[in-house]
Amino acid sequence: MKKEILTSSRLGESCTRIKHDSGLTICLYPMKGYSTAFAIFGTRYGSVDTTFKTDADADFITVPEGIAHYLEHKLFEGEECNAMDKFAATGAYSNAYTTFDATAYHFTCSSHFGQNLRTLLDFVQNPYFTDENVQKEQGIIAQEIKNYLDDPGWRVFFNGLQAIYHNNPVRIDIAGTVESIAQINKELLYRCYNTFYNLNNMTLSIAGNFDPDEALRICDEMLKPARDTGLQAIIPEEPPTIKEKRVTQKLYCALPLFQLSFKRPNLKGRESSRQYFIYNMMLDSAFGFFSPFFTKHYDSGLINDTFDASVFKGRGFFIPMISGDAREPDRVVEMVDKEISRLKKEGIPEEDFEIVKKATYGDLISAFNNVGAVAKGMMNADFNELNIYDNIEMAAAVTYEEAMEALDTLDIGNSNLSVVEPLER
């Protein structure tokens, strides 16, 4: 077992990161004065992981869209009872989520921490899929999919992803489609489980009111050692150019919703996180709430306070995005294009960049205020080959020149505009 104490002089706090003998990475962050503990057990397995193999497989397999999310729904079920019932017996709140590149199971409790941690480690390590329980979930997930189909915010986002990428599986809806989930069976679920729910591919992260020694004792007792199986998940080759320039859908909404997505090459690991701060600071300086752009176009009524400019990133994708609600989305894009050209020539005011940097520092420190945010932050940092304090230092190290270089890469010619227009009632 390899144990590291990580310290932040800026926060005056420390936490522990352990590479457990089982293969699992464990991050522990006791927080004084808090009533609750938040524990999250996650795997680097999301909706983008549709084609993969381990060293035990001769060939790559491609599985139905939405299977990572389906697996997440089914994992709570055990042979004797549902894990949610076990959490409920102590009053703990439990839930799970699937993103493009991760799946995570978590609980929050103010008592019975040890019992709940045992439940978490037990059910995530012991899948129980039957033909019957797999079939039962189809109706529930179909309703979840349909709920999102009526959501203009979700559709403008997904339509945009589908339009900038040709092959990247981030263009696939996390929950799949009613048709794709109909192909999912228990054999496929076990195959995915055995591939991705290997402790070498996972992180357990705990923050708040708990005893780290007790947590480690329970881990020692319950974690089943896993062999590194040489997992390979394929993110297909992606042309550098967008698939479609503009996509539109009509749904019930008040104002048109728009999302301008800039296609950028994929970035990996630490560099992806570093560039995330560089691009976000650049976007905040150029289009943030105190930028000349924001004030001018807010005052003219072209944009409103839903306007946002930030990076959407994950394993295999890195997308600077500008989005919001506006009566004239094409005019917003025209103005954004003009502003990018102007700033490329004239430069972002250096003073504004320094203020954005200070604001970013404030946001990063504030995130350490919440047990859930800290636990998730440690897990996400680990998935990005970082520790939770690296973000603060990484953001502090961003230079004005780097922000300007990032600005230079923004190319409206290689962007997509996704719009959801109001459907008449």
Partner: protein
């Protein structure tokens, strides 16, 4: 209440409360104005939008937002929301603790001053809000009101809510009706602004790491400069069920139907109803989740909400049109099960532990502490401290739960149908 949270009067119908908890890395200062929902809701809702855009001292949005960013991303926000028959107009600021300042700035004091300046020293032209800015914020409010349709679950809930409380102040939308927003003038806006700061009851709630020393004096001075003529505070009235339940249907071109049922209760036993609602549809171990979702696979979401102020309980789900009747029947059947006492001590204990866990969790965020504090101020009859609330939850008996379920009377059903389902 007053001693516990150090709540004290600083002006006529203006109270200052501070809650210090050194575990937090941020501080939050909230100013909440409370009035009854009325025809003035629309104009009231425009005002915080105007006030949080700039002030006389920071007279453009750029200057204000830049200053907030310099203060380590201090976040100045507004929220206008209903609480029973009342409209609450909240303006607040969230800031990083002074100890994390890189250049020894007094972040809290400077930010609180910005909030004060925005509220008490707004940017005016010839004694009025600038007409152009006012028109812009009126449009933004109308767009927000229209955006109810973006979230179909919430849209269906609000439609049912409006019908359930028709004729009562609660039926007035906290953002007002768009015709009323459109009718706001520079004169009526200024009149509303004066009414907000001089006539409405106000609560200032500070939560965070700081001890907030001296902030009460600054707020007292600001309110002291205003001639306060407080309006009479009207407590929300419990709503009586209609003689005949109302059933409304609207059809839209959507993928999933929404069912919302409102029931009302004259029973004022908040904790019994809270436990009953959680047992019925408040958690993953609830009757609705376990049966309508897990056993019958009819829904992704199926839950209930309880509103103490007006005395109501909802049942809500998203379902395929051809399963609507089945879902509605099963939801009602599950309520009937509780009415008949068909639940176990074990189920009730789980629910109580869950509620207690949620109550304790609320002490771990500044927004949770602010909201619990406000609830205690608005409804002091219900208990104040978390420990008192936990005691009240634990004291609920199975008979109380059965009584609570039997007190519910059907009032309104709203169904948002899909034309796609109808065509199939």
């Amino acid at each position: 209440m007053d001693n516990l949270y150090n709540r004290h009067k600083i002006a006529d119908e203006v109270y200052f409360t501070s809650i210090t908890d050194t575990k937090f890395k941020i501080n939050r200062v909230s100013v909440l104005f409370i009035t009854q929902l009325s025809k003035n809701a629309a104009v009231n809702a425009v005002i915080p939008r105007m006030l949080t855009k700039c002030s006389a001292k920071l007279d453009t949005m750029t200057k204000l937002n830049k200053r907030l960013a310099e203060l380590y991303s201090a976040s100045l926000t507004f929220n206008v929301f209903p609480d029973g028959d009342n409209q609450i107009i909240e303006m607040s600021i969230n800031v990083l603790n002074n100890r994390y300042a890189l250049n020894s700035e007094d972040i809290l004091r400077d930010s609180a001053q910005i909030l004060l300046d925005c509220i008490f020293d707004p940017y005016l032209e010839n004694g009025q809000f600038p007409a152009q800015s006012l028109e812009l914020e009126k449009q933004n409010l109308m767009d927000d009101n229209d955006a109810e349709i973006n979230n179909k679950t919430q849209y269906a809930y609000l439609k049912a809510y409006e019908e359930a409380f028709r004729g009562e102040p609660a039926a007035v939308r906290s953002g007002g009706r768009n015709e009323e927003v459109a009718a706001v003038t520079v004169e009526s806006a200024m009149e509303a602004y004066r009414r907000i700061i001089s006539e409405m009851r106000a609560e200032i709630i500070c939560v965070g790491e700081s001890d907030f020393t001296g902030l009460d004096t600054i707020f007292a001075e600001a309110f002291g400069k205003i001639s306060r003529r407080p309006e009479k505070y009207e407590k929300s009235a419990v709503s009586l069920a209609k003689n005949e339940p109302v059933r409304l249907t609207e059809t839209l071109s959507i993928e999933q139907c929404k069912l919302v049922m409102f029931m009302k209760t004259p029973l004022r036993k908040r904790y019994a109803l809270m436990v009953m609602q959680s047992l019925y549809g408040g958690t993953e171990s609830s009757k609705l989740f376990q049966n309508v979702r897990e056993k019958m696979s009819l829904c992704y979401y199926c839950y209930s909400r309880y509103g103490y102020a007006k005395g109501f309980l909802t049942t809500e789900c998203g379902v395929d049109g051809n399963n609507l009747e089945k879902a509605e029947a099963e939801c009602l059947n599950q309520l009937e099960e509780i009415r008949k006492g068909h639940f176990t001590d074990d189920e009730v204990n789980k629910i109580k532990l869950f509620i207690i866990n949620i109550l304790k969790s609320s002490t771990d965020t500044v927004s949770g502490v602010t909201s619990k504090c406000m609830s205690g101020i608005m409804y002091p009859e219900n208990a104040v401290t978390i420990d008192e609330m936990i005691g009240n939850i634990n004291a609920v008996t199975n008979e109380d739960i059965i009584e609570a379920a039997n007190s519910l009377v059907p009032d309104t059903v709203f169904i948002l149908r899909s034309d796609k389902e109808a065509a199939e």
